[in-house]
Amino acid sequence: MATVELAGKSLEVDADGNLANRADWDKEVAQAIAKEEGIEELNERHWLVIDFMRNVFEEKGDAPSIRKLTKESGVDTKELYALFPKGPAKKAARIAGLPKPKGCI
């Protein structure tokens, strides 16, 4: 398994480049991954989505799809794409320290 430098720590990542161990995640790590994804500063709306994703994962064992995000997170599709350009579900999952959502094949 590959190792990357994030927020001054050496962390293991999976084949998709997502954190391999959820215990390695914290807010600094999230901010560092966000930078890699081209998001300079995580704001309140980003965090709302990230927290929602982590809660769903905790409950279901899989990161939510974009449709579930739109339906249940309180952030609509348009804004999700503005917050996490190109692939909101995939990007937000990575920043949230979760594996890539199963639906993103």
Binding site: T77, Y81, K102
Partner: protein
């Protein structure tokens, strides 16, 4: 008497009916299958209709021709599944109680999911080829088309037969070349994926083929709406792609009955154990084919591989054992690439499509991820196998579990 009910008589449901009809003891089991439509479609054939290679007749047969004699068939829409009560309510008023249920209600396109899709241009300059109506309308349109911007767009994943859109652009390249008007047609493949296909190796090889055929590729395009006034598709981040003729693969969703029954996810696909094929949270419900939420391809070959696993696990469960067989996500797809050639890919949950050879005793080997005439014949042969062996639940010469034999890492 124990009761097995199968919902849906498409590819997967028909296979399961044929298998269990010949295995289960008729003095102990009553098998019932439910479907609302009389016609069985060979869906892989839809792709060939716009290019006048297949006609409607090649892809349609009566469902009844594929049911074993004496089958208990109910032609009705399904109103609701009530899993807590072990029963199914039909729209014709009948109530079906079951001991075991197999859900094979499939997936279908839903153009209404995208703003402006199912509007004034639908089946005029915007077409799908996932329904026989769409494919036939497109054939008639292509016949008289003078050329322009041809855009093929996947709305969102997952879709049935994820290689079909690529096959479509390959065949379009061949079709317009053969008609001497390729220089008048700009072919543009627009996908939400980061590359030409879902997995890295295949994506790179298929991307090169697109390039070689002069087909433009736009990736990571997530469609938000169709602009009918200006002939454009617009993504959520406001990227625009102009078209003269748009071929859309609309959002694919499970059947509405799954939503009415409260058994599906956001796309009405049923949460299913990816190895045992049992519906999550239920001890007497199996799910097969396009109706599942599995991360395997939605395709007939996949449903066929699943059917062998489902059969074994069903026999375990009805005898009070734990399901012992594991589905590995095996898919085997012939990709038609135009000019009488094809490409073969073979993969599963863990192994992406790899180059190499695919051994097949007596017929093969086929070449993997490479354009050959042999692979085209494989594709043509598959239609015969589909009608004559696969639907009848017979063995095919390809194993249910993927094999690494011949593959190059």
């Amino acid at each position: 008497m124990r009761k097995l009910v199968i919902l849906g008589a498409g590819t997967a449901g028909t296979m399961m009916l044929n298998k269990f009809n010949s295995i289960l003891d008729k003095s102990e089991w009553q098998i019932t299958i439910v479907d609302q439509f009389e016609t069985h479609y060979y869906q892989p054939g839809f792709l060939f209709i716009p290019f006048d290679i297949y006609t409607r007749k090649d892809v349609e047969k009566p469902k009844r021709d594929y049911f074993p004699a004496g089958s208990n068939v109910i032609m009705s829409k399904i109103d609701k599944i009530e899993p807590a009560e072990n029963r199914v309510l039909l729209s014709n008023g009948q109530v079906l109680e079951y001991d075991y249920l197999i859900i094979a209600t499939g997936a279908k396109i839903n153009p209404d999911e995208t703003e402006g899709m199912n509007a004034e241009l639908w089946h005029k300059t915007i077409f799908d080829f996932y329904t026989v109506e769409g494919a036939v309308a497109l054939r008639d349109y292509f016949k008289h088309w003078k050329g322009g911007k041809l855009v093929v767009n996947i709305s969102e994943m997952p879709i049935k037969c994820p290689v079909a859109p690529l096959e479509f652009v390959f065949l379009a390249d061949a079709y317009f070349t053969e008609r001497g008007m390729r220089d008048k047609v700009e072919i543009h493949f627009v996908t939400p994926l980061p590359g030409a296909f879902t997995k890295p190796k295949a994506s790179s090889i298929l991307g090169d083929i697109l390039n070689k055929k002069n087909i433009k590729l736009t990736t990571e395009f997530n469609i938000a709406r169709v602009d009918n006034d200006n002939n454009k598709i617009v993504s959520w981040d406001e990227t625009e792609v102009e078209f003269d003729c748009l071929i859309t693969i609309p959002t694919n969703m499970g059947d509405d009955v799954i939503e009415r029954s409260g058994m599906g996810d956001e796309l009405n696909f049923i949460p299913t154990d990816k190895q045992t094929l049992m519906a999550k949270g239920y001890k007497n419900i199996f799910v097969i084919g396009d109706a599942t939420d599995l991360p395997s391809s939605k395709a007939g070959s996949v449903a066929h591989f699943q059917s062998d696993i489902l059969q074994e696990n069903f026999l375990d469960v009805v005898d009070g054992r734990e399901p012992s067989h594991k589905f590995d996500g095996h898919a085997n797809c012939f990709i038609e690439s135009g000019f009488g050639k094809g490409i073969l890919i073979d993969f599963n949950y863990d192994t992406e499509p790899l180059p190499g050879k695919f051994p097949l005793p007596g017929i093969g080997p086929f070449s993997l991820l490479e354009e050959t005439k042999m692979n085209h014949y494989g594709k043509i042969m598959f239609r015969w196998m589909y009608w004559n062996s696969l639907l009848k639940g017979q063995e095919l010469p390809i194993e249910s579990h993927m094999s690494m034999a011949g593959k190059r890492l």
